[in-house]
């Protein structure tokens, strides 16, 4: 996994609440292998209409945001289905971070397994950021994970909060199975001592 330390990148606003993982990766693409095409599934039904024509209003279809690596989204981003493909397609499209007032729990959790940084900020601040992104010609945001701060001209430095374990995982690009194997002895002990009185299981 690619570690995440600091990121200075173009950001794009997705000013809608409850963007569920069916919108991020429509269900018909779930069976697809994760190959070069995987990124093209991202937001497919929001990006294109029924006839396969681009929807000009959708943020990623606007030239200004076509190279964005950060999304500043509405409440409850990534709610719904547990499909990790939603994170795969974002990452494969070059996104490294999503900023929102809240996230679907499973999406949030999946992000850390793929080097995608989800940042929770108060809704008022998210709105301010979105306005900045709309107003500026090439709006960039800087994220520093080590110090848990983001910076843009509109807000100057803003602190965000993240679970220290998850922060460490991103900073080091830590693989969870490797990490857990360090606790092999504790797992063995649990299986030996704590499962004996649960024969019914």
């Amino acid at each position: 996994m690619v570690p995440f330390k600091t990121l200075k990148a173009l950001a794009a606003p997705l000013n809608q609440d409850n963007i569920d993982t069916d919108q991020i990766l429509p269900a018909r693409f779930l069976m697809m292998p994760r190959d070069q095409k995987y990124r093209t599934y991202l937001f497919r039904d929001l990006r294109e209409d029924n006839n396969g024509l681009q929807t000009p209003d959708f943020f990623l279809n606007q030239k200004k945001f076509s190279k964005a690596q950060i999304i500043v989204a509405g409440r409850n981003f990534g709610c719904g289905s547990s499909r990790e493909g939603a994170v795969f397609t974002l990452v494969d499209s070059g996104f490294r971070s999503v900023i929102a007032p809240s996230f679907g729990d499973i999406f949030y959790n999946n992000s850390f397994n793929n080097g995608l940084l989800p940042i929770v900020l108060p809704e008022s601040l998210v709105k301010e950021l979105q306005q900045f992104l709309i107003n500026e010609a090439a709006p960039e945001i800087t994220i520093d994970l080590e110090s848990e701060q983001i910076f843009c001209e509109a807000t100057s430095w803003v602190k965000f909060d993240i679970d220290p374990h998850r922060r460490e995982r991103l900073l080091k690009g830590l693989d969870m199975v490797d990490y857990t194997q360090q606790f092999g002895e504790a797992i063995n002990r649990y299986e030996r001592d704590c499962l004996v009185d649960k024969k019914w299981l």
């Binding site: 029924n50 289905s81 397994n113 679970d163 199975v177 299981l201």
Partner: protein, 469 residues
Amino acid sequence: MTKPKTLLDKIWKRHEITINPAGQSLLFIDRHFCHELSFHAFNMLEKRKMKVRHPSRTIAVADHYTPTTGEDARDFKSLDRFKLYNTLKNNALEHNLNFLGLGDQRRGIIHVIGPEQGFSLPGTTIVCGDSHTATHGALGALAFGIGASDVSHVLATQTLWQPKPKKMRVIVKGFRPAYVSAKDIALSIIRHIGAAGGTGHVIEYAGPVISSLSIEERLTVCNMSIEAGARAGMIAPDETTYKWIEGRPHAPKNDNWKEALSAWTLLKTDEGAIFDKEYEIDGQLITPMVTWGTSPEDALPITGLVPDPLEETNAEKRANLKRKLEYMELKPGTSLTDITVDRVFIGSCTNSRIEDLREAAAVAKGRAACVHSIVVPGSGLIKKQAEIEGLDKIFIEAGFDWRPAAGCSMCVGVNGDLVSPKERCVSTSNRNFRGRQGPDARTHLTGPAMAAAAAVTGKLTDVRSLQRN
């Protein structure tokens, strides 16, 4: 005196192997389910050349991509779907997992067959790469959905790192009026707390209305927890639970049963235990519900009207509401019961159990469906039971399309059971997201009796108006 604990605290503590310096718990996972989309996780395992740590703790079940027209290879709607099925089968064989495949009567939707087989038990931790894993919490388990990386982690280590979630309790007090289903209770709760209301929380459902529910009904309520944003939902096990589980194939037997029972009776929230959030809902006020929009929180009593964006003072909410109504092609102020529909789906991990089929059949009996309506049982055994009770005949005589093979079907449509673009479907499933049942499909969520009512009238219908004397 020890601090009063919640049901969640108790299950958590029993499964905590260790805590890391950042305060995350390494939980032992008792039960795990795989399905066709677990292929990413098996690929990850393969890359590491790792084996499954405890094969007997995982059941692999084909449910998402399987056909509902029959149990045969030729019933698959496409070759790639059949290949996906075979991939699961091969992975299961290679890793020596329990596998329920085509032609096996025990096969069905994971969240139906886990409890049905007695594999999902009180006090256990249960995970699956599917957000509706919350369903199993109805038996007093901690059950939640995970992504592919975590699935591979569970296969490899039988554990998961988790931060301790916040605790929420939803008490449904009073009593439940006639014609109000478990689905109506779930939709009322989601409407009340919102689609993100449960984010970061595990919900414990309690109170007299919840205790009076059958296990099938409890499974429906817990199933929808994720639609309120919660990772999991749970209900403390009681006599109803024990009776329901006893004798099921994987349920404990003889001395083990007695031992299990004595462990399970401790599984309740102590008096005075503290929740981070508590809600109280008055059961008497719950009515048959239907969704009008594109989030499960967009639910209203069937007697209601399509909301009017002009009445929304917040500009952004107004725009959002307009967008939903445009997608759903609904006019503000329309009576919900004036909305005509194109098709009906009765099934899914929310509402495909025997009681759901009975409720729907009671409405369908002696009437005729006027729109295409499919009924998909949740498992092979439910199908068999329905046939013993003659429910299949009732549906068929009423012109419903009774499907002989169980699966997720039109809830997510990946097996090819799709709603066409612009079609309006009344569905007993759990999500009315844009495009959920197919590109540009419009979904109205209801319980099974309300869905059958829509099938025989061709519009959203208050099931109480079809009351027979």
